[in-house]
């Protein structure tokens, strides 16, 4: 070991104690959390969340927090320098980029928190306004998350970015639009008048299906063996139409009875049925498109270098967009809305002494539906046999095939699931009042891709988290930084760049990303 001065010795001692090269990731995470905490604190303080006007100790605390992060970063700098020096004299050739970028990440967050603190104090907003931004962020984030899941599922299994995913969503939205037109009563332009007719078919069919011996039928068709032996088999087959008819009659009876006896519940039932049909058609449309896409544009290229399917995806994206432009030259809004969700369109949410904010009913339904779909997806991936097959294919296609998994089928179904989620997202955007047009998928697609990368691409909880995170950053970001609304997109994509630099594996980190689901 070379001779060193007393200061150098001090630095190397600190570095040895802190083991910065091992703990730089934790150093970054703590710094980021501190900075985010400072940003949230300053918002709470200026908006009167902790009482209006803010006490002196809050200001002191805010400033103190800033100073603490600064000292933390300086300490990190000393540790970094020491570590770099140690590495140099030990002739350690491990790359230093990760630890340097972790340190720079802390500096980035330090500056960000300082900027936010300054601009929020200079231009304070009421808490109700911030809550309003949060509300918009969560609703939009749910939609981003649904679309992002499609990117992540496909990436997890094929290591390829499906850039046509936004267009798949757009076509799903068109599918939902056609269903809505079909449902909407021609003369009264009423959603309910049409859904009553649809419900009159759909509810009996559904209840009738519930009356069938579902478990037995599943066993029969999956194992090719009859669950019941001998002559009772005949009874089972003969019983099917009888059971179905009985169920359908019960369903119809319940529906009519509700219409007579409990009109409000009846209204809820037909609205839900109508919305399910519209969403279902949207999901089916985009699933169908995704199957075609996979068969035509991606499967022939599965053995090709990774760049080739990517280019194919971009080509498919442009193709689908142009086809939609030719087929539907005009913008199509979801013109009819269910009465339940539109009259009135909002309900007030009280924030106690901090005022109240209006919450859009459509927004609530969208958020609940997206959370429900995410939960369903998570259940499928973690708990079902198919989910297990999916995870196996994601890990190693060849070995999965040796274990008797039909890889092609798993891949197609993965595309279908991702596309169905995107189709639902498209319908949601339609009901949110957006006009459906050929270009409609481009921007949400790009944003959802950003969300997927934010959370860690290939990582399912990551995509969900990334979606909500991006939605909230988009709603809050320009206001926190004191920038105009036109900076929204710049902020989202700057965030993407920042994540790629400081956390290439996304927010949820490498460990989760390695499992690919």
């Amino acid at each position: 070991m070379a001779r060193m001065s007393s200061r150098q010795r001090q630095i190397t001692q600190i570095a040895q104690v802190l083991q910065f090269d091992k703990h730089s990731g934790r150093f970054f995470a703590i710094g980021a959390i501190l900075a985010v905490f400072r940003m949230l604190w300053v918002i709470g303080q200026t908006s009167g969340l902790f009482g209006q006007p803010a006490d002196q100790w809050m200001w002191d605390f805010e400033k103190g927090l800033g100073t603490f992060i600064l000292i933390y970063a300086l300490l990190g700098f000393v540790a970094l320098m020491g570590t770099l020096y140690l590495k140099r004299i030990a002739e350690d050739n491990e790359p230093i980029t990760p630890i340097v970028s972790d340190f720079l990440g802390v500096v980035f967050f330090l500056l960000l928190a300082e900027r936010v603190s300054q601009s929020v104090i200079a231009d304070p907003r009421e808490f109700a306004t911030w809550a309003g931004f949060l509300r918009e962020g969560i609703i939009q984030g749910g939609v981003y998350a649904l679309i992002a899941l499609g990117y992540t599922l496909v990436y997890g299994i094929l290591f390829m970015i499906n850039f046509a995913h936004g267009e798949v969503m757009m076509l799903g939205a068109y599918g939902g639009w056609f269903a809505l037109i079909f449902i909407t009563d021609g003369e009264t332009r009423s959603f309910e008048a049409g859904s009553v007719l649809v419900a009159a078919w759909a509810v009996p069919l559904f209840i009738g299906a519930l009356f069938l011996p579902i478990d037995d039928l599943i066993t029969r068709f999956t194992t090719k063996q009859s669950p019941v032996a001998g002559p009772r088999q005949v009874f089972m087959w003969l019983g099917l139409p009888v059971r179905f008819l009985l169920g359908a009659l019960v369903g119809y009876g319940v529906l009519v009875g509700l219409g007579q006896g409990a009109p409000h519940i009846h209204l809820i039932v037909i609205t839900v049925v109508g919305l399910l049909v519209v969403t279902g058609v949207g999901m089916l449309t985009s699933s169908f498109v995704a199957v075609l896409l996979e068969r035509i544009a991606y499967r022939p290229l599965r053995k090709a270098p990774r760049l080739t399917p990517l280019i194919s995806a971009i080509g498919a994206s442009i193709f689908l967009q142009q086809v939609a432009l030719l087929a539907f030259p005009e913008e199509q809004p979801y013109a009819t809305k269910p009465i339940l969700l539109s009259e009135p369109a909002t309900f007030p949410l009280s924030l106690g002494s901090l005022g109240e904010i209006p919450i859009s009913k459509v927004g609530v339904v969208i958020t609940l539906a997206s959370l429900g779909l995410m939960a369903l997806l998570y259940f499928i991936v973690i708990r079902t046999k198919f989910g297990k097959a999916m995870r196996a294919v994601a890990e190693d296609k060849d070995t999965a095939a040796l274990m008797g998994i039909d890889v092609d089928r798993v891949i197609v179904l993965t595309f279908v699931i991702g596309a169905a989620l995107a189709g639902a997202a498209g319908v949601m955007l339609g009901f949110r009042g957006e006009s459906i047009k050929a270009k409609f998928g481009f921007k949400p697609g790009l944003k959802a891709f950003t969300a997927a990368v934010l959370g860690g691409i290939g990582n399912i909880p990551g995509a969900m988290l990334g979606g909500f995170f991006l939605g909230i950053v988009e709603a809050l970001g320009p206001r926190m930084l004191g920038l105009g609304n036109e900076w929204t997109d710049s902020i989202s994509f700057a965030l993407l760049v920042a994540v790629i630099i400081f956390r290439p594996t996304g927010i949820l980190g490498e460990a989760a990303a390695e499992k690919k689901v």
Binding site: R125, E126, A128, T129, G132, F133, R135, E136, G137, Q140, P329, E330, E331, P333, A335, A345, T346, I357, P358, S360, G363, L429, R432, G433, E434, S435, K439, F440, K443, E474, A475, R479, G484, N485, E486, T488, D489
Partner: protein, 466 residues
């Protein structure tokens, strides 16, 4: 390192050599008899005079864009039915510029590359007209825009640039005064779509409204590619603006007025501009459009009601739809086309071979020299800046799914001096509710006369219309 530097130097030198050769691509001006070139257009006997028309048929304002195309087609049809220009028929070359600067540049280059194009009716959007005008200026093709209202459009000083539309300097001033005086608002929020047109107009409104003593609580841009404006609208709520003014086009206006209901801005009045004064806006926004305002040229100021009725009838017979169902600018387009065609008629000569010869510079001058042309939108004369528009700005409100004209007191018009009564205390003014309007209005019109000296300085320097 040195190699790189050397390479860089070589590239720079090459570029420097190449640069002058770009300049020489512009065709040298040498008139060849009997052939169209940079100085003249020669229409061989039996062929048609070509006039370009650029409009948005597919992107931002497709319906009003189609309305503009129809207005131009009708003007050309009328001229052709009446025997054409000196025996030559006119052909309209319609191109879609998608209301977009880049696409408009392509269309303008297309027209510029066609030596037979004599003049261009268009473009429609200011954000398309402004970049296109530089190309027409180089190609010496005169343009008459029916609908580009941005003040910046004629500010370039190009002699090929003309418009029949009013200017947003006028529209913005009248909008601001109407909001301040007739709606009694003292706090407004301004939104714009970050185009030359929308932002330019919002700037004009902001300047005038602040001059009057009102407060602009927010001045924010929205992205027309986006469809979710709830966050930016949420930001406006806490300042409780009485009016939200939007500079931009119908689709975004419809989305804004709808989303306003969702975030707690139900009580604010939505006010927009000629880009929103369309049936499509009402169709898209539905009930939410009720009681929202938009300014446009006051059609009752059109000189010739009979001619307008006859035009509407001919339009419906030709296209099977009433012009107002598509958009507002058909009469302006008709006038723009007619100004071009009568200027061509004035300068065109038939040469010895029976070809029609139009000298480009003469045509440019003839359009600028238009004087007292009796069009559908009034008696039109072009000034030195290419402002040919007539008529005063009117304000319209949606009632029962239709646009209805609102009376605008004369004192609010552009060019009129307008100041609020200084005797009224600031506090009183901020508490003004809508019902107090008439009173302040009366006081205003009395006092506007006596306060000339303050108001005129600012307004008189700009051109009044017509």
């Amino acid at each position: 390192m040195l190699n790189k530097l050397r390479y860089l130097v070589v590239v720079v030198v090459l570029l420097a050599i190449a640069a002058p050769s770009y300049a020489s691509v512009v065709p040298t001006t040498q008139a060849v008899p009997g052939q169209s070139d940079a100085t003249q257009i020669v229409v061989p006997a039996g062929e048609s005079i070509k006039v370009g028309l650029a409009t948005d048929l597919s992107n931002v304002i497709p319906e009003p864009g189609a309305d503009i195309r129809n207005g131009g087609l009708l003007a050309v049809k009328e001229v052709n039915d009446n025997g054409g220009i000196q025996g030559f028929t006119v052909e309209l070359d319609v191109q879609d510029d998608r209301c977009d600067g880049a696409d408009a540049t392509n269309v303008a280059n297309l027209f510029a590359a066609d030596p037979q194009i004599a003049a261009v009716v268009g473009h429609v959007c200011s954000g398309a007209s402004i970049p296109a005008s530089a190309i027409y200026n180089d190609a010496r093709i005169p343009m008459v825009s029916p609908s580009s209202t941005a003040a910046a459009f004629t500010a370039s000083g190009f002699d090929v640039v003309n418009r029949v539309a009013f200017t947003d300097s006028a529209q913005g001033v009248v909008d601001a005064r109407f909001i301040y005086d007739q709606l009694g608002a003292r706090n407004i929020a301004l939104l714009h779509d970050n185009t030359d047109y929308g932002k330019g107009l919002a700037d004009e409104v902001k300047a005038e409204f602040e001059r009057l003593g009102g407060t602009v609580t927010a001045f924010e841009a929205i992205d027309p590619e986006d469809q979710n404006y709830r966050s930016v609208l949420t930001d406006l709520v806490e300042d409780a603006p009485e009016v939200i003014f939007f500079g931009g086009y119908q689709t975004q206006a419809a989305l804004l007025v709808t989303q306003m209901q969702e975030v707690g801005l139900e009580d604010a009045v939505f006010f927009s501009d000629d880009g929103t004064y369309t049936q499509a806006y009402i169709d898209q926004a539905g009930e939410n459009a009720e009681a929202s305002y938009a300014s446009f040229v006051d059609s009752s100021s059109f000189a010739n009601a009979d001619a307008n009725d006859a035009f509407d009838a001919a339009y419906e017979a030709e296209f099977g739809v009433l012009p107002d169902d598509l958009g507002p600018f058909h009469a302006h387009t008709y006038d723009a086309a007619m100004i071009i065609l009568q200027a061509i008629d004035k300068v065109a000569t038939v040469d010895g071979d029976g070809n029609l010869v139009i000298v480009r510079e003469e045509l440019i001058q003839a359009i600028r020299d238009t004087e007292g042309y009796e069009g559908l939108t009034g008696v039109l004369s072009c000034d030195d800046h290419g402002e040919c528009g007539a008529g005063i700005i009117g304000v319209n409100v949606v009632e029962g799914g239709e646009w209805l004209a609102v009376e605008v007191p004369e004192g609010l018009q552009f060019g009129e001096p307008y100041m609020m009564d200084d005797m009224m205390g600031e506090d009183e003014m901020t508490d003004d509710s809508m019902s107090d309007d008439e009173m302040s209005d009366d006081e205003m019109s009395d006092d506007s006369m006596s306060e000339d000296d303050m108001g005129t300085e600012e307004t008189a320097t700009e051109e009044s219309e017509g």
